[in-house]
Amino acid sequence: MSADAWAGFRRAVLANPALQQELLGVFEPVPFAALVVERAGALGFDIGPDDVEHALAASRRAWIERWI
């Protein structure tokens, strides 16, 4: 996955309340990643399950490191 693909998909999600609601409906990480991959692919963004996992880990790390 390129950084551009992830950034593009993020923008697409943040501009699409219906897609947001769909993603909010899935809490468990594995099916959530599967849904992200599917929706990203449908929008033309090449994102795999590992990319989602890495993005989640990076977001968690960034949140924890906010005090540092």
Binding site: P17, L24, V26, F27, P29, F32, V52, L56, S59, W63
Partner: protein
């Protein structure tokens, strides 16, 4: 994260953090539609939100002016009361009692409010007019409510009492409470588990009227006591404010029912009063546990250093607060 376009609808999103990048504040928004801010602290609710992968991954980021634009269209609930405190003195108990009324939104120590109050640490020349705007915008954005809520209460961080002039200027009509407690009890609690403000270096020593050099050479217990004394002094500067209530921990929870309810024009129903009483009977910071009021535990073995620091730095200001306090069921004590 990219900056949100000006026309993005941020309804259902809440600022959870202010980050500084290239000398300017950027506001991190989390999707919180359907989330109740009922945890004892705002940060705990945010942590709960961020367990959801969507909320963790997809967050808006705006400028502080973006917050202002959002609030101009969606002003949020009117603040009905502010809580200031010296820490470890029942402020979470009071906020949980207020939160027991379903029409109340209570935000307990929201980080984004602290960030805007302390913005001068990053932008020393920031004018008070801008700081007032930022504070109003942030509280407006945080206080959107769930649709059924009608009143907003904010419990500030302990050190925010040093910013009372700005808060009173931004919200001149909002009544406020300052909570305090016997200094030995507060210092014993702080010595068991240090709050951020009493750890040297976490907040600028200047916030508490000390130079960094003075703070660095001081025993921890004295630093803690001087920080707490400065917070209390800052509140006492507003002793004559008719919108102020000064309350001693020893008078909780009765004072909430007898004095805060009328002073803040609250209108609890009988079921609300029962819920408030129930909240008062629980450990405010861990609502699954009953509140332990035992004197022995509160005053567990203060060390000689704690007793000395309490007497030297805090006892005089505590006595002045006692004089200024609201007496249960009555008027101010002086």
């Amino acid at each position: 994260m990219d900056l949100t376009a000006a026309d993005v609808d941020l309804r259902g999103w809440t600022p959870i953090r202010v980050a500084w990048r290239d000398g300017r504040p950027l506001v991190d928004w989390c999707h919180t539609e359907g989330v109740e801010f009922t945890d004892p602290f705002f940060g705990e609710t945010v942590q709960r939100c961020l367990r959801h992968p969507f909320r963790l991954l997809f967050r808006h980021e705006t400028t502080i002016e973006g917050v202002g634009r959002h609030v101009a269209e969606h002003p949020g609930l009117p603040p009905a009361g502010f809580i200031f405190h010296m820490s470890r003195c029942g402020s979470t108990l009071v906020s949980q009692m207020l939160a027991a009324m379903p029409e109340h939104l209570v935000l307990s120590e929201p980080g984004p409010v602290d960030s805007v109050l302390r913005a001068r640490e990053m932008l020393p020349d920031l004018a008070d007019d801008a700081r007032c705007d930022w504070l109003r915008w942030m509280i407006g954005a945080l206080g959107q409510g769930n649709g059924g809520q009608t009143r907003l209460f904010v419990k500030f961080d302990a050190w925010s009492a040093t910013e009372l002039p700005l808060v009173r200027r931004a919200f001149p009509d909002v009544p406020w409470l300052f909570l305090f407690r016997d200094p030995v009890e507060v210092l014993v609690s702080q010595s068991r588990q240090l709050g951020a403000h009493v750890i040297p270096g976490v907040l600028p020593a200047e916030t508490f009227g000390m130079s960094p050099a003075t703070a660095a050479g001081m025993p921890l217990v004295d630093y803690s006591a001087r920080v707490l004394a400065h917070i209390c002094e800052a509140a006492l500067e507003w002793e004559d404010d008719p919108l102020a209530t000064f309350a001693d921990y020893a008078d909780l929870p009765e004072l909430v029912f007898s004095d805060l309810v009328p002073a803040w024009s609250l209108t609890p129903s009988e079921p609300d009063l029962a819920r408030m009483a129930d909240a008062a009977g629980r450990d405010a910071k861990n609502p699954f546990v009953a509140f332990d009021r035992s004197e022995a535990r509160r005053r567990a073995a203060p060390s000689p250093a704690v007793e000395a620091a309490a007497e030297q730095w805090l006892r005089p200001v505590y006595e002045r607060l006692r004089s200024a306090r609201t007496v249960v069921g009555g008027a101010r004590g002086h």
